[in-house]
């Protein structure tokens, strides 16, 4: 299998093996018209195995969502065949409409138009809680 190098676009590297399809769906990459390559279970010296996504076009990425799902990802911005920028992600302080609050006593359960906002309350353990009712988010995607 040959995946052509990118001239202009984005490479998401060091994705935890098995998470590439989740990221593909959450970032709505299926709606793009450009080429998108998903490489699963690639060999990695650092990680053993990893997934990679190559997007053959520049798009606006929601780095908060990406950081929330898999903070170990490296994002490389490729321009004219060269790496123009390399971003290392971290857990975002807040995520909006990524996690749904499941607490039936939360105000979000009755007011449908409210954004579901979760805040990082413990960076070490990666704990997110609903800003309204403080319910802990279940495991990340």
């Amino acid at each position: 299998m040959i995946v052509n190098p990118i001239t202009n676009g984005i490479v998401l590297d060091h994705i935890t093996a098995g998470k590439a399809m989740d990221i593909y769906k959450i970032l709505h990459l299926d709606s793009l018209n450009c080429t998108v390559a998903i490489i699963k279970n690639a060999d990695s010296k650092k990680m053993g195995h990893k997934d990679i996504i190559k997007i053959f076009e520049h798009i606006d990425l929601n780095l908060d969502v990406l950081g929330y799902i898999d903070p170990g990802i490296t994002v490389s911005i490729i321009k004219d065949g060269k790496v123009k920028d390399r971003l290392h992600l971290e857990l975002p302080q807040r995520v909006t409409n990524v996690i749904k609050c499941k607490n039936p006593r939360c105000i979000t359960s009755v007011e449908q138009e409210l954004p579901h906002v979760f805040q990082l309350t413990d960076r070490e353990k990666g704990v997110y809680r609903c800003i309204y009712c403080e319910t802990k988010a279940k495991n990340r995607v």
């Binding site: 006593r105 105000i107 359960s109 309350t121 800003i131 309204y132 009712c133």
Partner: protein, 308 residues
């Protein structure tokens, strides 16, 4: 943030200042009688309440202000499907400050994010009740003279008892406070209080089912009611409602200067004859609620009364 939603918004020095003002009001009520003249408090109570609503209203009246509002969701536009955000936006045109109680957790936060006037959380479901905590702190300060070096027993419904969650958070900031958490298995404190307040801050605490065994070491015993309105299942409520009842014989092993508190209303968790024991502080506590709310209203409206 515009108002008071969570007790942890207030630094300890801000709490000290509120308590100082409340004590000054208790000593010199006439000095404050016209402090809020021309100001209006809106009490938006989407859930029934007697004590909290009346103490807010009495507080505003004693400051010379006016009160408007509703006392149940059925008599508000929320029964027509209006959102909390829209309600407070409109009320902000009519009132200078809002006190809101709502059965859904986080509703006052939604209100504060939208409101043009300060919003006070007067209880949001089983979540937060910061003015009750201020009331509790004023009572502890007046009865014990300190917030540190105390062993505090919290008994009853520690799961849905919002006053308990807020009080634990507030007292966790003081030195050498130990908590004895007494509850049935089904009503233990939520994990966010255990993990992110107690364990995270290395606070000394024990969880037990046995009130009588815990009694001798307590400086404060905070009783709570098992709240019917927090249960989706009536059978669970009936099974748990009589878990703990404080009686005069049970107080025999307690310290002579124990302070028995309760956010009220009580059902049967404190026997009526305990009321005559000098260690019963819960009616004084209810009275303190009015004074601390007066102090809070003044602070949020930015009104300073000469301390002379």
């Amino acid at each position: 943030m515009n108002g008071l939603i969570d007790i942890m918004q207030l630094r300890t020095d801000e709490i000290d200042a509120l308590i100082k003002t409340a004590n000054d009001i208790i000593g010199n009520p006439q000095k404050y009688a016209q402090a809020c003249a021309g100001k209006k408090l809106a009490t938006l109570f989407f859930e029934p309440s007697t004590r909290t609503r009346l103490s807010f209203e009495a507080a505003m009246y004693e400051l010379g202000g006016h009160v408007l509002g509703f006392s149940e969701a059925a008599s508000s536009s929320s029964s027509k499907g209006e959102s909390v955000a829209d309600t407070v936006t409109v009320v902000g045109y009519y009132a200078d400050i809002i006190a809101m109680r709502h059965p859904k957790e986080g509703a006052p936060l939604v209100a504060a994010m939208k409101s043009s006037v300060p919003v006070i959380n007067a209880g949001d479901g089983g979540h937060n009740h910061p003015t009750q905590t201020l009331t509790d702190l004023l009572t502890i300060q007046r009865e014990k003279g300190r917030f540190d070096h105390l062993t505090v027993g919290l008994c009853g419904d520690l799961k849905f008892g919002r006053t308990v969650h807020s009080l634990i958070s507030a007292l966790s900031r003081y030195e050498k406070v130990k908590f004895v958490l007494i509850s049935p298995e089904e009503l233990v404190i939520p994990d966010y209080v255990r993990q992110e307040v107690l364990q995270k801050n290395n606070i000394d605490f024990v969880e037990t089912r046995d009130l009588e065994a815990a009694m001798p070491e307590l400086d404060i015993l905070y009783m709570t009611r098992v709240q019917r309105e927090r249960f989706f299942n009536e059978a669970d409520y009936i099974r748990l409602k009589d878990s703990y009842v404080l009686t005069v014989p049970k107080l025999q092993s307690a310290k002579s200067d124990l302070c028995v508190m309760h956010p009220l209303p009580r059902v049967n968790e404190i026997a009526v004859d305990v009321d005559d024991d000098p260690r019963a502080c819960y009616f004084k506590q209810a009275q303190n609620g009015k004074y601390i709310r007066m102090a809070l209203i003044l602070k949020l409206l930015g009104i300073e009364v000469d301390a002379q």
